[in-house]
């Protein structure tokens, strides 16, 4: 049976498609291999180790301990509390700032964006210790406030939750501002003009038109800040005065304290699972692909 021209064509197309897929796979295989080696295998290993007890046998003791001791629950609560509060404060400070930046002429806006990014050029450790110097009892903030008569006695703004939040908000703010700013820049100004043309007050135009259009950026930024906060170590360790204990800090102390790696691994697994759960829930509301720069 002779093949018709269309059949040949179709077969050729299919072959081309096949080849292209293979080529694409070949091209991305180094990246895939890397993900496998540096992500999938270690995380799998982490899961495995978390089920190994002190005697080297399969055991649930690492998880049982987390239920038995209330401190683990409290540490997870603190971690989520700090992360939520940091995210909330970042939104309150960052959103208006991003809005302000998006209204500026682009040259000025770029200049301002550089100042937003400037802190990234300094190490996190240095910034954290700088806050310690500023906020401590005999630090600059208390000294100035007292000499200006704002308060009489040094107030406690570090070695506690307040100090931790100040430090973390400072470090996290750019992660919120950038996606929000991007989303705002992408909003067509004509929509706002159309809204006022149709009789909306500036306030109404903002809330009914501008704000909803900026929410993907806001969600993306908030999610990024929140997830990054969950794994924070240095800032709460330095500014929390040993009283704000987050999961990462407990992981470190468990590595030092317990003979088996599993004691620390189990904490990592629980944090990972909780974070994935949050991302999964969030993905039902936000387009995560758009957040990471992918298309809609």
């Amino acid at each position: 049976m002779a093949m018709t021209a269309t059949d040949t064509n179709r077969a050729g197309l299919r072959r081309d498609g096949h080849l292209e897929k293979l080529k694409l796979f070949g091209l991305s295989s180094p990246a895939l291999l890397m993900v496998l080696v540096i992500l999938v295998i270690p995380v799998g290993w982490l899961f495995y180790v978390s089920f190994v007890g002190a005697d080297g046998q399969f055991s649930l003791e690492n998880y049982a301990r987390m239920i038995k001791r209330k401190s683990y629950f409290r540490i997870f609560m603190t971690t989520f509390q700090v992360s939520l509060l940091t995210t909330g404060i970042c939104i309150v400070i960052g959103y208006p700032l991003a809005y302000f930046l998006s209204q500026l002429p682009s040259r000025l806006a770029n200049l301002c964006l550089i100042t937003v990014l400037l802190p990234f050029w300094t190490s996190l450790l240095v910034r954290t210790y700088a806050w310690l110097v500023l906020l401590q009892k005999k630090g600059l903030v208390n000294d100035w406030a007292i000499s200006l008569g704002l308060w009489d006695e040094p107030i406690k703004i570090v070695h506690n939750m307040t100090g931790t939040l100040i430090g973390m908000v400072h470090i996290m703010l750019p992660f919120l501002i950038l996606p929000v700013y991007n989303a705002m820049k992408a909003i067509d100004r004509d929509y706002l003009k159309a809204a006022s043309n149709l009789g909306a007050s500036p306030r109404k135009a903002f809330w009914t038109v501008f704000f909803p259009l900026s929410t993907p950026g806001l969600f993306a930024g908030s999610l990024m800040v929140f997830v990054l906060c969950l794994g924070f170590f240095v800032t709460p360790a330095v500014l929390g005065g040993g009283k704000v204990i987050m999961v990462s800090m407990k992981i470190v102390s468990n590595i030092e304290l317990f003979v088996n790696w599993g004691a620390a691994s189990a904490l990592g697994v629980v944090l990972l699972v909780l974070t994935m759960a949050i991302l999964w829930i969030a993905s039902r509301f936000v387009n995560l692909a758009a957040m990471t720069g992918g298309g809609h």
Partner: protein, 346 residues
């Protein structure tokens, strides 16, 4: 071509042979002013006298050793460690037993060495106070440290259980010699933790490192803290208004151990024998106020009576202190620290 290759091989083998005759050891310690003192007093002079080449590193403690031993890639020959963690690591099988026929400990304080670890220096966990707040005559004992009516002010305390429970029990009226008997049960541990719980509203900072508690005192951030004596001396030298007392302090020691499977185990043993000699140990107090573990170091004339009076292991100071019980830490530290974390997170 083949011949050249053969020659090259032979030459390189020869090279290795020559190299192997030069003995080397890799030592890991805690860095900072502590390791600097060790280098100047112990490592450098001992290297010069023995011809052993010393490579120094800093490390994160016995968890690093555990990683190296369990992965079969041991690179460290000697590690400096706290006595308690060394005892636990030894029990875990991470350390080589030390050969005391090579390392001469006949003039050591008998308690300052163990199967796996030979003492390097003696330090104390003390209470320190801000002299601007309380003057030179500050708290006299742990009961005063816990008494916020007599000594109002903010405290700092350790964020781990090591060295945290003994003071609380002494403050609660337990005689120093009975402390470890009382602590030998969960009820006893809870009693100590309850005492700290009581003080907690006045504890501003739970410190995590020696550098931190020294800085807290230097900055006047707290009025009283627990901590390691050498750090407070350095803070005072830098102008910090801080004093401390050896009364009821916890007498503890740092030691040197050899990780299981160390590449230069024999050289390491030889080197430990060298740095344990009085002639090196007597130099250590020049750089940090930690005392020798070798009693003979007091007899060489290097340590003046004045310096000796300020060292944790001088006979007069040692008599006032409670020696830390390694047995207790080996048995209870993990459980006690978990209980301590409960209090911290409340």
């Amino acid at each position: 071509m083949k011949r050249t290759l053969g020659l090259t091989l032979a030459a390189s083998l020869l090279g290795t042979a020559v190299y192997a005759q030069e003995k080397t050891v890799t030592i890991a310690s805690w860095g900072g002013s502590y390791q600097e003192a060790q280098s100047k007093a112990l490592f450098d002079p001992a290297a010069a006298n023995t011809g052993i080449i010393v490579k120094q590193e800093t490390y994160g403690g016995m968890s690093d050793v555990r990683l190296q031993v369990s992965s079969g890639a041991v690179s460290l020959d000697i590690v400096a460690s706290g006595s308690g963690s060394a005892a636990r690591a030894g029990a875990e099988g991470l350390l080589e037993p030390l050969d005391y026929s090579i390392i001469d400990v006949s003039t050591f304080y008998p308690t300052l060495k163990s199967e796996f670890c030979v003492g390097g220096d003696v330090f104390s966990t003390v209470y320190a106070w801000n002299t601007a707040t309380y003057g030179d005559a500050g708290p006299q004992n742990w009961a005063d440290f816990f008494d916020t009516e007599k000594f109002p002010g903010k405290r700092a305390y350790r964020n781990k259980v090591a060295g945290a429970l003994e003071p609380a029990l002494m403050a609660d009226g337990v005689a120093p010699e009975d402390v470890y008997t009382v602590l030998d049960s969960e009820e006893g541990i809870e009693r100590a933790i309850d005492k700290i719980r009581e003080l907690k509203p006045n504890i501003d900072v739970f410190w995590s490192s020696g550098a931190q508690h020294a800085q807290l005192m230097k900055d006047g951030e707290v009025d009283m803290t627990t901590g390691w004596n050498g750090r407070f001396d350095n803070a005072a030298k830098d102008g910090g208004k801080v004093k401390y007392s050896f009364n009821q302090a916890l007498l503890d020691y740092d030691c040197f151990a050899i990780p299981k499977g160390a590449p230069n185990k024999d050289t390491a043993m030889e080197f430990l024998a060298e740095i344990s000699k009085a002639e090196y140990q007597d130099d250590l107090p020049k750089y940090i106020t930690y005392g020798p573990t070798n009693k003979a170091a007091y007899d060489t004339g290097e340590i003046s009576a004045e310096v000796a009076a300020g060292l944790p292991s001088s006979p007069a100071n040692a008599a006032m202190q409670l020696p830390v019980s390694l047995e207790w830490y080996a048995k209870w530290e993990t459980i006690a620290d978990e209980m301590y974390q409960e209090m911290l997170t409340e």
